[in-house]
Amino acid sequence: MLTAESSMVGNALFFVFAGLAIACAISMVYHRNPLYSAVSLVGVFIALSCIYVTLAAPFIAAVQILIYAGAIMVLVVFVIMLLNLDEDKPLTRLRYLYAIGAGLGVILLAQTFFIFYAVMRAPNIPVAEDQTAGRTIDIGRAMYSEYLLPVEIVGVLLMMAVIGGVILSRKLTQPQLELVVDNEMERRGEDH
């Protein structure tokens, strides 16, 4: 295909995926039911993964689906299902929050317009298909040569999180029956 058509198709694809991501993000913030929010977040991750593919980063795209959408969000959905969270009740008393929300919204809109302005003024560098930073072999090489220490530290951090979760959530076990009986016997002053 000629480059003009391919950049047109590339632009169209970007707008489709970006639009999908924004729609899912708005849906996630809007819904009161936490499960709908979680499913919308999965939609956001899938749309982001598609954008990564258009940026010539196939490994990151695949890993985004595998880890983020496929493992992390599954655990979040489990938590929501097991805890049986109720829908958020709409707030009725704190009216000043609406004013604060509107003010923050205006600031956010101003930031967005500034980003548009800066992007329009930036030079347009097209992404080459054979860019050599996104391939698996380059990421692997970098991970084990230049960035080895950060990778190992992140591994230790993740293990700390897992062990912390296990310790914080264990139930204090019931004392064994013999101990209970012994204590009761002592209390009553009898011997068994």
Binding site: M1, L35, Y36, V42, F59, I65, L66, G70, F78
Partner: protein
């Protein structure tokens, strides 16, 4: 006019390829259902369905008609949107890996200049894979892990205790065995040096063992067991056991939505059979075929493709055979087995492979 045809031509070719691949896979899946009923019947000393056509070959169409005409029930207090979304997610996640399957070797012997409008210039080969992605293995593993959502959401949205338990058990089982499956694939990827499915087949052609099942037999066994658990098939089918949980996560689904879950289960079986074939049995590669036919010619591609389908059918038969033979695991036995035995064995396989590859390459 010519420019429009030139830009649209790759899309048209891709669309035709996708259509053919999806049709082929769905027909195979429909006949897998029939094959399961017949083979299970023979194992159990009876014949399966034989009324609807000679040997029951029209049975899948009868089943499809039945599913379409059944009454469509929707539970009253269920979360409607997610109730309708769940079977769609399950089936989409099951069907998506079709685009990376290597159905056969690329055909290079045909000269395409006979096509009008100069469409055939510069085209050297016709690949028999729809999308040649660099990270094909990760793509398949990722999409199958998205398939867990279909089951978890189905269990939740039915507003039924048994469905919820079945859905949670099934998703817990699937995410546990996904790890062992991924770890068993690492050995093959290390031997092949690439994550691309076609690249893995070419690497098996070059290797002295021809098929990676020989150096990676431990990985093969681990992958096979994890695949049984991933697809919720016997002996790991407690989440949908009739005696335990009515029908597990798809209790409240009827008619076409149940047909979608049913199809998703069999397409998942097909997916892991294809992965097993490509990773461990060399995919479409038949050792010694290059002596009979010229590499890249149409007969070579055809025979390789038939061999590929034959290997997949062998795995599907093995699935059905195991279903007719083994009893099922209890859920705690299942989780213990996945985490305490299968995952350490898979990791040990990776370590041994690393050591051997390192010493062979140095």
């Amino acid at each position: 006019m010519e420019g429009v045809i030139k830009t649209a031509f790759p899309f048209i070719v891709l669309s035709v390829g996708i259509l053919l691949a999806f049709q082929g896979v769905l027909m195979m899946v429909a006949y897998t259902v029939l094959a399961e009923r017949k083979v299970l019947g023979w194992i159990q000393g009876r014949i399966g369905p034989n009324r609807v056509g000679p040997w029951g070959v029209l049975q899948p169409f009868a089943d499809l008609l039945k599913f379409i005409f059944k009454e469509d029930l929707v539970p009253d207090k269920s979360t409607k949107f997610i109730y309708f979304l769940a079977p769609m997610v399950a089936l989409i996640a099951a069907l998506m890996p079709i685009v990376v399957y290597p159905f056969g070797p690329a055909i290079t012997s045909v000269d395409w200049t006979f096509l009008p409008f100069g469409l055939g210039e510069g085209i050297k080969e016709l690949p028999m894979t729809i999308a040649r992605i660099d990270v094909g293995v990760l793509f398949v593993l990722g999409i199958t892990s998205v398939g867990v959502y279909g089951i978890a959401l189905a269990g939740w949205s039915s507003n039924n205790k048994y469905s919820l338990m079945g859905g949670l058990r099934s998703s817990a089982q699937m995410i546990s065995y996904e790890l062992a499956m991924g770890a068993s694939v690492i050995g093959v990827v290390m031997l092949a040096g690439t994550l691309d499915l076609n690249g893995i087949i070419y690497a098996q052609q070059q290797s002295p063992f021809r098929w990676y099942i020989i150096p990676q037999f431990v990985g093969f066994i681990v992958f096979l067991i994890a695949a049984f658990a991933e697809t919720n098939r016997v002996p790991f089918d407690l989440p949908e056991a009739e005696t335990e949980l009515v029908a597990g996560f798809h209790t409240e689904y009827s008619a076409l939505k149940f047909a979608l879950f049913f199809m998703a289960e069999y397409v998942n079986m097909f997916t892991v059979s294809v992965m097993c074939t490509v990773l461990f049995l060399g995919g479409w590669y038949v050792p010694g075929l290059s002596h009979l036919f010229e590499v890249g010619s149409i007969p070579y591609a055809l025979v390789s493709h038939v061999a590929f389908i034959g290997k997949i059918c062998a795995f599907l038969f093995f699935y059905i055979w195991v279903r007719g033979t083994l009893p099922r695991f209890r859920f705690d036995q299942l989780m213990n087995f996945g985490w305490k035995f299968l995952l350490p064995v898979a990791i040990a396989n990776v370590i041994v492979t690393i050591v051997v590859v390192y010493f062979l390459n140095s």
